[in-house]
Symmetry: none
DNA sequence: CATGAATGAGATTTCATTCAT
DNA sequence: AATGAATGAAATCTCATTCAT
């Protein structure tokens, strides 16, 4: 969770607060104009601080990008496990994970696209840091798939490929939002995507199990968000 | 095929030749270092010409990027129909299309990633040009899906979502090559990905039909590449 | 002893103490990295105070340099007369003066070099202040030479030139310490330098007189440091 | 003679010419205001070129300083041997060398002072380059002293110390010009300084020999510049 | 008195673009 | 058509200095 991005300022609360200001401003600007067309002065102005101040909280401009990207990948790493934690059924856990992933992406659409566009603008070590976090997130999905497989709900198949297909579902929502936005809601997108992919990978037992889950949710007023395994 | 990129030089053959030199050099450099870290001088040196010459064939640096990206999306628009043209069976056409897409992406891995990273570095009008071509390519896939649906091979579902899922399969090979390269061959990736997606979308009739296609290919020594519907 | 460098703080003892802290830190840093590469923060950190504090005792950064340089030239003005005060013989006074000069320089090697390098970094009025003190020191040497001349110990010659030659002997020890350090001790340097210069300027009477002084010192256990005229 | 300072521009004549422009402007500005207070824009303006141009001939600002300082130390290394080359008499060679040294210093007064002030502003490797050249120059003087010693003209003494005393005579003319300028001509300074130092180091034979040289010069109308051993 | 966060002016350096040759 | 030297605008980053606490 700790970054190597070091600050001249000591007070950790202040660092937190200032960095937040900077990251919020930078995320928007980077998304609109890209990393290189955004100047430190732009960021400072939008954040309501002086240009020099930025350098009290960051060593170089690239650190701002790192901070922005870390924010996203750490949102993934935080939100997805949280969405799964109250469920024990393997299939439900997998579906919750994908759903949560899509929702986090939706909440950070700009930054997700930014991650695709700008990770290579980072120096190798910073880039590795981001990719490592991303891999950790993917492992959560992969583990959920393996659990389904062990429970006989998903047929034997290449876990890496399915993992990436699910991940790309989530990322795709951000990457192609310019195309989807006028055609689908996020909920429809999630349901349709899962429909296609799960239909392709569930065993007959898995299909039955999925139908049961759907029935249970339909009986409860509570809706899927609060269901228990 | 026609670009708005105008050149001072008249002789169209020379323009063709010089632009090719420039695009080849630029593609490699943009992929390695990104658009902004690559200078016109870098490109000129790698292309074996002077910096000034570039400006005889291009009005601004961004035009070079446009030329590079056009090259990729036009490769898509050229190769995918070609891979389908000798086939009439709707399912086979769809599978050939996806396979061809993946192969073109593989042949332009660097440039495909570049498209994700750098399309936003273009001015709005140039960006639109690229996105329009991309949409055209997607339409080829979408039409193939619709054809399958009409033939009762694919069940009713959201065509846009499936289209994008298939497109993301192809792009994913480039985007995540750093992850896949050590784990899968391109062929395995294509087969596994189609396996998952088709299993999820084919109707019972479609499943049967797919099995037939597979049997036919297995009987021929020719292998799938030369089979006819 | 009085500087124009004014302080916001009233308590003179505190001013004294704080300035000492600052000067000690600054001397070392300026010597190692030069005036411009040394930041106020560097100085403050090494002095164990805050950056803001420095500005309670100094009006601008240049004042710190002035303080540092004043410290050296005032060490000259203090130490050299002290080394002469117990002697009345003109030749001995001159030799003591040069010897003392060399020793003070040795004790402030870094700051002496600094004076050569950085006096010009001062504003004109501050620079003049330093040069004036330096001239005062030189006058001490010049007067000692004139005394020897009047006593018939040194032949008629250009006093300014000899003065500067003697001064440069002292300064040279600091300026070229990178060259001398591995070849000579300070004592050897002083003896050899005086040997050369005095041999060149003493009258026959002066030569005899110098021999007498040397004999006297040799007879006393006391050694030259404590001898009386 | 060749520097590591590399230029983007190929044409060596142009490089020569531009660098000369730059060095002339920089020498004056560095001398007046010091290295750090002089901006690249100042230099460019005084040289009558654009700021960007400077960077076609130099990689960093520090390279300009290196170029300026090299110019001086190379003038030493060029002029001093030239002043000696037509003479074979060891004492005459030594005197010519010192005289030439003083004249070169006089011609580069500003840059000589700059060398004292600013050598430490160079990075270690560049600094070493300068100091090495300086040592080479000193070796010329040292060798001339040794030759006199072997010929029995100078008494046994520490060659390093005498070398530096003679070097400091030359440098002193620049370092203390603010003091000397109103009191002495360069010629008087040279004669008086040599008078003092040589009187102190010549053997009786050397003294006689020096007198002979002086007589010979006095007999010729030609004056010392054209005399032969 | 002391602190240290904040400011903002200013310097170096890069590079797209032009243009004389 | 081609070259490559020259320009000059713009961006990053540093740091002396101030000032609220």
């Amino acid at each position: 969770m700790k970054t190597d991005v070091t600050s001249i300022v000591e007070d950790p609360d202040l660092v937190e607060k200032r960095r937040h200001q900077i990251v919020v401003a930078a995320t928007q600007l980077f998304s609109e104009q890209g990393f290189y067309k955004t100047t430190i002065k732009d960021i400072a102005k939008k954040a309501g601080v002086s240009a020099g101040l930025v350098y009290l909280y960051v060593r170089e401009k690239e650190d701002v990008l790192l901070l922005v990207l870390l924010q996203v990948v750490e949102a993934y790493a935080r939100e997805i496990p949280k969405a799964m934690e109250n469920f024990t059924d393997p299939l439900e856990r997998l579906m919750r994970a994908v759903e949560a992933y899509c929702r986090v992406v939706d909440g950070h659409r700009a930054a997700t696209v930014l991650a695709y566009r700008s990770t290579k603008s980072l120096s190798p070590d910073r880039r590795e840091l981001i990719q490592q976090r991303e891999t950790e997130t993917n492992d959560i999905i992969a583990n959920a798939i393996v659990a389904c497989m062990k429970a006989g709900l998903i047929r034997k198949l290449n876990v890496d490929v399915l993992t990436y297909q699910l991940v790309l579902v989530a990322h795709g929502w951000a990457l192609k939002s310019w195309y989807f936005k006028s055609r689908l809601t996020l909920e429809e997108y999630i349901v349709d995507s899962l429909d296609i992919l799960l239909a392709g990978v569930l065993t007959p037992v898995g299909q039955l199990h999925r139908a049961e889950l759907r029935d249970r949710d339909a009986r409860n007023d509570l809706g899927p968000r609060n269901s228990r395994a």
